[in-house]
């Protein structure tokens, strides 16, 4: 447990023959930390998340997530690692349209044997997020706010050690945004998950343990950002 949740050192990344997108000399996020990461669009946020989630490869340097060296894992190991230890929430359209709310929430558990035992917790997690009454519904009947809570429930099921949320509140109005964030914090605290929350909406930043500007530690964009 001593290893940090995320530890990057000298990480550089560029898409095939394109300009360098990431150049991060050092980034460390401790376990249990709630980190707010911001930066303008195009600053490499999605790329960074892709690397942390083990979906993008081809970087140089060292990326350790939950103490494991991502570059040393095989493709299927990264998939299994992501499925077992990570939770991921998208900005929008987080749900598989042809599954019910409950099926969406329990899908990671059914896809990964290591997470199968968590299926039973689905109802409890849904209750904590206030969507218990929606479990049997088709996801197409939900409001955007409800959809994001279902996405959060799915990401939180089985208490993943690292929760990555990629602008999950940007489609919500102010009241829902606040409420959603509270729920996220409560549940991260309950499951002792590290939260990496990405947004360009700085108004939320103060609620977090730490605020990070991608522009501060990503040298690849420093020149452009100055413009």
């Amino acid at each position: 447990m001593s290893a940090p949740a995320i530890a990057l050192r000298d990480v550089r990344f560029s898409y095939r023959s394109g300009p360098e997108i990431l150049d991060i000399p050092e980034l460390t996020i401790a376990r249990g930390e709630r980190v707010f990461l911001f930066g303008p669009s195009g600053s490499g946020k999605t790329t960074l998340l892709g690397i942390l989630a083990g979906i993008l490869t081809g970087f140089t340097g060292s990326v350790e997530v939950l103490g494991r060296d991502v570059s040393k894992m095989s493709g299927s190991e990264r998939d299994a690692f992501r499925g077992t230890h990570l939770g991921y929430i998208f900005q929008l359209f987080n749900l598989i349209p042809y599954l019910t709310v409950e099926e969406n929430i329990t899908l990671p558990g059914r896809l990964h044997p290591a997470r199968a035992k968590n299926i039973a917790e689905a109802r409890a997690v849904a209750k904590r997020l206030g969507i218990e009454h929606l479990l049997g519904r088709a996801v197409t009947q939900l409001s955007v706010g409800q959809q994001q809570r279902v996405a959060a429930a799915r990401a939180l099921l089985g208490a993943p050690e690292l929760l990555i949320a990629d602008e999950p509140t940007s489609s919500l109005d102010f009241d829902h945004r606040e409420r959603f964030l509270e729920l996220l914090f409560e549940n991260c605290a309950l499951s002792n998950s590290t939260l990496l929350f990405v947004s360009h909406d700085r108004s939320l930043a103060t609620k977090f343990d730490r605020q990070l500007s991608l522009l501060d530690f990503n040298r690849a964009h420093r020149t452009e950002a100055a413009v």
Binding site: D79, R82, G83, F90, L92, I96, Y98
Partner: protein, 423 residues
């Protein structure tokens, strides 16, 4: 299992395209199985038309021709055999029984067959079924006539009815001038249905055939007023000179081959003896080309069905990019994305096959009586034949394989998209 239920639910979600795809595969499958059923049905009903006959004997000529006119009443003989030769073989020590046929006349499109009591006694079909009478009895007198079941049904004749037969079988209907109208026949019996060509003929005595042609010379009718009056004709004074062909049963199978050779080399008259089962086999080989052509067409129809499935799966991929990104995010590897699409394609083709089987089963039940009535072809209602199962299996496998095309595309999409949000 998870992927299977995902695939199933995803297909159910796109109900319209799914059902259209399944329908098109189902229809083409039904067509393929239907062609196969008709093929098997045709073979079976042909083979069932004649049983326990070791040899069919006629004048020398085409063996298939002999089989077709003697058994199926298709086409006609170019030459006859003499009654003398017939008696020679009939009384041969190796022969158990014979059934003589004298063909060439017709009645309103149905053929008239001159034969003897042996026909009613010895003819067998569907292994061991025998001719039965629905009404009346076999002909005893020169102008007695028996109707096949279909003839009786379509012409509506009853016992005691007078029937005039015509010379020749051209175009189905006798030419008025060729009617043997001075010598009408009386219906004395109606045969029970056999579902073989027996149902589509009228039967008289060999002497009856002699009687109607008695004053004919060189195929031309007698001058008016010169006909021998029917009253003067009795069975005893009618001498049978020739017949068209005869069926023959040997006492042993071993003797059959020996007798066939003897008949084929009979010095008194050029004759030929064929083994019906063997000639039928030759017929199938000849028809085989047409069957193969039909088969190829049906297979193309199936390919079109499968191609339709490919198109619908492939075009659905763009709107499913989000779905793939979500699956990736919760830890589904590229292998699982591929498996999902292959399973969807496999499920579609499996469902199509099932639908095809159900459809052909239903259609067979509905159309079997009609086909039997119209074409004399008994198409069995049965589970798919061995070949049918092979077709079904191949289509499911082909469906799975085709699934790899959209699956590959989805895999490429997933790699390119990663977790990024493309809506």
């Amino acid at each position: 299992m998870v992927l299977l239920s995902l695939a199933w639910k995803s297909l159910r979600n796109r109900l319209l395209t799914t059902s259209l795809t399944v329908l098109s595969i189902g229809l083409s499958m039904a067509l393929l199985l239907g062609v196969e059923n008709v093929r098997v049905g045709a073979r079976e009903s042909f083979a069932n038309t004649i049983s326990q006959t070791d040899l069919i004997v006629g004048a020398r000529g085409g063996s298939l021709q002999l089989l077709l006119y003697s058994v199926f009443r298709i086409g006609q003989a170019t030459n006859n055999v003499s009654y003398e030769s017939y008696l020679h073989w009939k009384n041969h020590p190796a022969v158990s029984w014979t059934i003589p046929y004298s063909l060439g006349d017709s009645h309103r499109g149905f053929r008239v067959v001159g034969t003897t009591e042996d026909f009613y006694q010895h003819l067998r079909f569907r292994r061991d079924r025998q001719i039965q009478f629905a009404a009346g009895r076999s002909p005893k007198d020169v102008f007695d006539l028996v109707l096949g079941a279909d003839v009786a049904q379509s012409l509506g004749y009853k016992l005691g009815e007078k029937v005039v037969i015509s010379h020749g079988i051209a175009a189905g209907r006798g030419i008025a001038d060729n009617d043997h109208k001075d010598k009408p026949f009386t219906v004395t019996g109606i045969l029970a249905k056999t579902s073989t060509p027996v149902d589509r003929s009228l039967y008289i005595q060999l002497e009856g055939i002699t009687a109607v042609h008695i004053d004919w010379a060189d195929g031309a009718p007698p001058m008016p007023g010169e006909e021998t009056p029917a009253a003067k004709i009795t069975k005893e004074n009618m001498k049978v000179e020739q017949i068209t062909s005869f069926l023959l049963r040997c006492k042993t199978r071993m003797a059959t081959l020996q007798l066939q050779r003897e008949i084929n080399t009979y010095p008194e008259e050029p004759m030929q003896a064929i083994i019906p089962g063997v000639t039928l086999q030759e017929l199938w080989r000849t028809i085989g080309y047409a069957e193969d052509a039909l088969q190829v067409v049906t297979i193309f129809v199936i390919l079109v069905g499968l191609l339709g499935m490919l198109v619908s799966l492939y075009t659905s991929l763009n709107e499913r990019r989000r779905e793939m990104a979500i699956l990736r995010a919760i830890g589904a590897g590229p292998g699982k994305i591929i498996a999902l699409l292959v399973l969807e394609s496999g499920l579609l083709s499996l469902a199509g096959c099932l639908l095809g089987v159900v459809m052909i089963y239903g259609l067979s039940v509905i159309f079997q009586p009609i086909v039997e009535q119209q074409f004399g072809l008994y198409v069995p209602v049965q589970p798919p034949t061995a070949t049918g199962w092979i077709y079904l299996g191949s289509v499911v496998v082909a469906g799975l394989l085709i699934g790899f095309v959209p699956a590959w595309k989805a895999y490429r999409n997933a790699l390119a998209d990663g977790l990024s949000v493309r809506v």
